[in-house]
Amino acid sequence: MTILFVLITASSFVAVIFLIAFIWSVKTGQFDDSYTPSVRALFDDDTIPENPSPEIKESSNNENE
């Protein structure tokens, strides 16, 4: 049964690590905005399409290449 003392001490130690992780996450502002990241995740990567969508053609006076 004595092994329980070691195990519980170890598990408490691990739990404390998670608590610290939580405090860190709050401190770095991860809980400040719980909405925007959910939208951001749905955006495609920032690659600009080679052929613009059929709906919106590239304009003729497009100089900023």
Partner: protein, 799 residues
């Protein structure tokens, strides 16, 4: 190709008859076209693929020197969050943020300008944080860029006061995290004891668990529960008993009894109940505190005022901060700019719209040499003025400071829960003492532990949770229906209201719509109307502007020898026909005294009086029904800063003249509310402008109505979307059902307390009984109040 009802590809507005075509796409205005071009050039087409009509419609802008003040070092230093070498960071509030396309576009600012390195949107707060290199793009250019894509940031005097801290929010999260962590671990360490049955856990192991629990519980007592303990202590010193007292008694009793049992090795203690109790309490607090971050309920004149204005020094224009303005300075106020200080007009024609400040619906004309009070907006060509008083001394600022002494938070004492707590505490403590006394005779050594057992079980956990969850949920229900309240106290105040006071302009009338009708010998024909329209277009007087908008679908003509007489009217020739529009006197019409007050535009053609256009305020939809509903149970009053022009029309709703008051200055409104309250009335004030600010703050509940809830509104308890005006009666009724839900949940939790007391008084309260009773009672109450508020909201919707 221009067919009717084409939708602008950028903003989705109706393009009207003549859309602007660029790249084969229809646009409603040049502004939208410019944004489209800008986005197209930078290959940000994805913007248009995300939503059907993502853009925000803003009228065209010529920025000119509008944002020139952002080049002032002092202003920049205050606005920038930090500056580190080349990089600067600023957080800007942009009310226009409304959809996922907005987030996408604002987070791709770096493709629009290389100087911007990084931008992050906080959608809930409607803020964007931009990191940029000042060498490549100045703050002014950045703001102009944002404004040009129709995301104009709101920068007001308020921004200069430094950043308001969001630390409080985070502190609660820390406390909640710690309590949750401890609760989980103590539960795990306590379970062996619950499940071991008769023989119990091995003593050495149990002692180890107990000590671990004690160590774990310490941060909960000293950190997570600190606010409750401190608040109870502070109130007790002042002889006040509030909810935090019974909660603190419970916390202290639980902890000290447990610590005693553990240290004396006489039992396992109630650390599981203790940490669970604090954890649940904090969840309730967090749930209740989640309010509308993007809305501001405590704005004062500072958020209405701009930061800077154009000053004229030696014939040259210079940008200066408003707070630095001194007596004798000469300032330039352009079209649509706000007059920040009391000043005297020295050049130009002042045509000032005070509707937001005083409630007057008509613009006020001032001539050179006349004094002009702060707060109005100039409509028309630029004017020059000399400053009479500095900002702090100006009439508007003074009014603000006098009537309110700043913004005082409304009293939250003596509310329902505090009254209940008072009785609750007294009863619990006397019961505990009696029990102790009785046990002293039966079994003296157990008396103390049973005393604490009573205190423990009487701990108002469910009671303390019912309020935050009922009110928190009610606030969400209100929010979904377009009514946003500042905090949960407002619900209780709203339920007690017995008198409703309305402001007129902008509150019961629509702020941007007028009923325009022609009265005269004969209706003008189409050609005459188009002449009137062309003439009205030349003037910036609000009445002309309204008339022009009303007639805007007619043809335009060239106006010759146009002349404007300030405060009187305008005239000009179109196709050799002389047209005059303006006041009765100017045009040559005969009117009686009463009619002078009315908003009318008189017309003559070739000096022949034709008739007049009456411009009447359009009342909000559902006003008749709403007032009928309200009148059944409440006294309904009207106080208006406007003239009596529409008295007769208003009489049909408000019934008696004694309930209607006109020409009321902001201070009069404040006094009026004060008088009503002196008669013992609970007043609900509904207003919209700065002129109502004093009354809104004085009233028991002050609600502002806003077309755009993110724009400026004076300090208040709640903001209502203007479209939801007719639901006001339902909102008040719903607050009453919320209160009923709270009362019922009090009964439920008291029932649990009684059951627990049955165990405690007989000395049967074991840790496992406490550990079951507490969560079960809390969960029942939370489930009950959530269901009950939702159901009563549904019932209220269908009635």
């Amino acid at each position: 190709m221009a067919k009717e009802n084409q939708k602008c590809i950028h903003c989705g507005e109706d393009c009207g008859k003549y859309p602007i075509i660029w790249d084969d796409k229809p646009f409603c205005c040049n502004g939208c076209k410019t944004v489209y071009q800008l986005l197209n050039e930078n290959k940000l087409y994805t913007y248009y693929e995300m939503e059907k009509s993502p853009g925000v419609r803003v009228d065209e802008h010529e920025f000119g020197t509008k944002f020139a003040y952002l080049e002032e070092e002092e202003i920049k230093a205050k606005l920038l969050e930090f500056k580190d070498g080349d990089y600067s960071k600023i957080t800007l509030y942009i009310p226009a943020i409304h959809c996922s396309s907005c987030i996408w576009l604002l987070e791709h600012l770096n493709t629009l300008n290389k100087g911007i390195t990084h931008s992050i949107v906080n959608f809930v707060k409607k803020e964007v944080s931009v990191t940029f290199k000042e060498e490549e793009i100045s703050l002014r250019q950045l703001v102009e860029l944002l404004a040009s894509i129709h995301y104009t940031p709101m920068i007001t005097l308020d921004n200069m006061d430094g950043k308001s801290a969001k630390k409080e929010d985070r502190k609660l999260l820390f406390k909640l995290g710690v309590a949750g962590f401890v609760f989980g671990n103590i539960m795990m360490l306590s379970f062996p004891d619950y499940l071991a049955g008769e023989q119990g856990v091995e003593p050495a192991l149990q002692r180890f668990f107990n000590f671990l629990n004690l160590i774990l519980a310490l941060p909960v007592l000293l950190y997570s529960a600190r606010d409750y303990l401190l608040s109870a202590y502070k109130n007790l010193i002042h002889g006040v008993i509030n909810t935090d007292l019974p909660i603190s008694i419970g916390i202290v009793a639980l902890f000290s009894q447990s610590a005693y049992e553990i240290l004396s090795n006489s039992g396992t203690g109630y650390m599981d109940s203790f940490s669970g109790f604090v954890f649940f309490l904090l969840i309730g607090k967090w749930y209740q505190n989640k309010t509308y971050q993007a809305l501001a309920f405590d704005r004062d004149y500072k958020s209405y005022f701009p930061i800077a204005i154009t000053k004229i020094v030696d014939e040259k224009e210079e940008i200066t901060q408003i707070k630095d303005l001194e007596e004798g300075d000469r300032i330039l106020v352009r079209h649509h700019e706000l007059i920040p200080v009391d000043a005297t007009l020295v050049k130009g024609i002042a045509n000032i719209d005070y509707s937001f400040v005083t409630g007057e619906s008509n613009a006020v004309n001032k001539l050179v040499g006349e004094p002009v009070y702060a707060g109005g907006k100039q409509m028309g060509a630029a004017i020059e003025m000399t400053v009479n008083k500095s900002v702090d001394q100006s009439s508007l600022t003074k009014l603000w400071n006098q009537t309110e002494g700043g913004i005082v938070p409304k009293k939250t004492l003596n509310n329902m829960v505090d009254r209940t707590s008072k009785w609750f505490t007294i009863i619990v403590i006397s019961l505990a003492l009696i029990t102790m006394l009785v046990w002293f005779f039966i079994d003296p050594p157990r008396a103390i532990s049973i005393f604490t057992a009573v205190l423990i079980v009487a701990c108002p956990c469910a009671l303390a949770l019912s309020i935050p969850f009922t009110y928190g949920n009610s606030m969400r229900i209100y929010g979904k229906r377009g009514f946003y309240i500042k905090n949960s106290q407002v619900i209780e105040n709203l339920s007690k209201v017995d008198t409703v006071v309305f402001d007129k302009t902008g509150t019961i009338t629509q702020s941007n719509a007028l009923d325009i009708n022609f009265n005269g010998k004969e209706e003008p024909n189409r050609e005459q109307l188009s002449f009137i329209k062309s003439l009205a277009r030349q003037s910036t007087h609000p009445l002309s502007v309204s008339l022009y908008q009303h007639l805007s679908n007619l043809d335009s003509h060239y106006v010759e020898s146009y002349k404007e007489v300030a405060g009187k009217g305008v005239e000009g020739y179109i196709n050799q026909v002389k047209i005059k529009i303006g006041s009765a006197l100017y045009v040559g019409a005969q009117v009686n005294q009463e009619e002078e007050f009315m908003s009318r535009v008189y017309v003559s053609i070739d000096e022949d009086y034709l008739g007049f256009f009456s411009l009447e305020n359009k009342y909000r939809d559902g006003l008749t029904t709403l007032i009928k509903q309200l009148k059944k149970k409440y006294e309904v009053h009207l106080i208006s800063g406007d003239n009596e022009g529409e008295r007769n029309k208003l009489l049909q709703w408000f019934g008696e003249n004694k309930f209607m008051h006109f020409n009321q200055k902001p201070a009069d409104k404040f006094e009026y509310i004060k008088q009503l309250q002196a008669q013992g009335k609970n007043v609900l004030m509904i207003g919209d402008g700065l002129n109502d600010a004093g009354a809104l703050n004085k009233s028991n509940v002050g609600i502002t109505i806003a077309d755009d809830i993110y724009n400026f509104s004076p300090a208040c308890d709640g903001i209502m979307e203007s479209g939801k005006f007719k639901s006001l009666y339902r909102f008040i009724r719903f607050s009453k059902s919320s209160i009923r839900v709270v009362k019922f949940s009090f009964l439920i939790s008291l029932l649990y307390n009684t059951i627990g007391l049955g165990f405690a008084v007989n000395g049967l309260l074991t840790p496992i009984v406490a550990a079951i009773l507490m969560p079960v009672s809390s969960v029942t109450v939370v489930v009950f109040v959530t269901l009950a508020t939702n159901i009563s909201a549904l019932i209220s919707d269908n009635k």
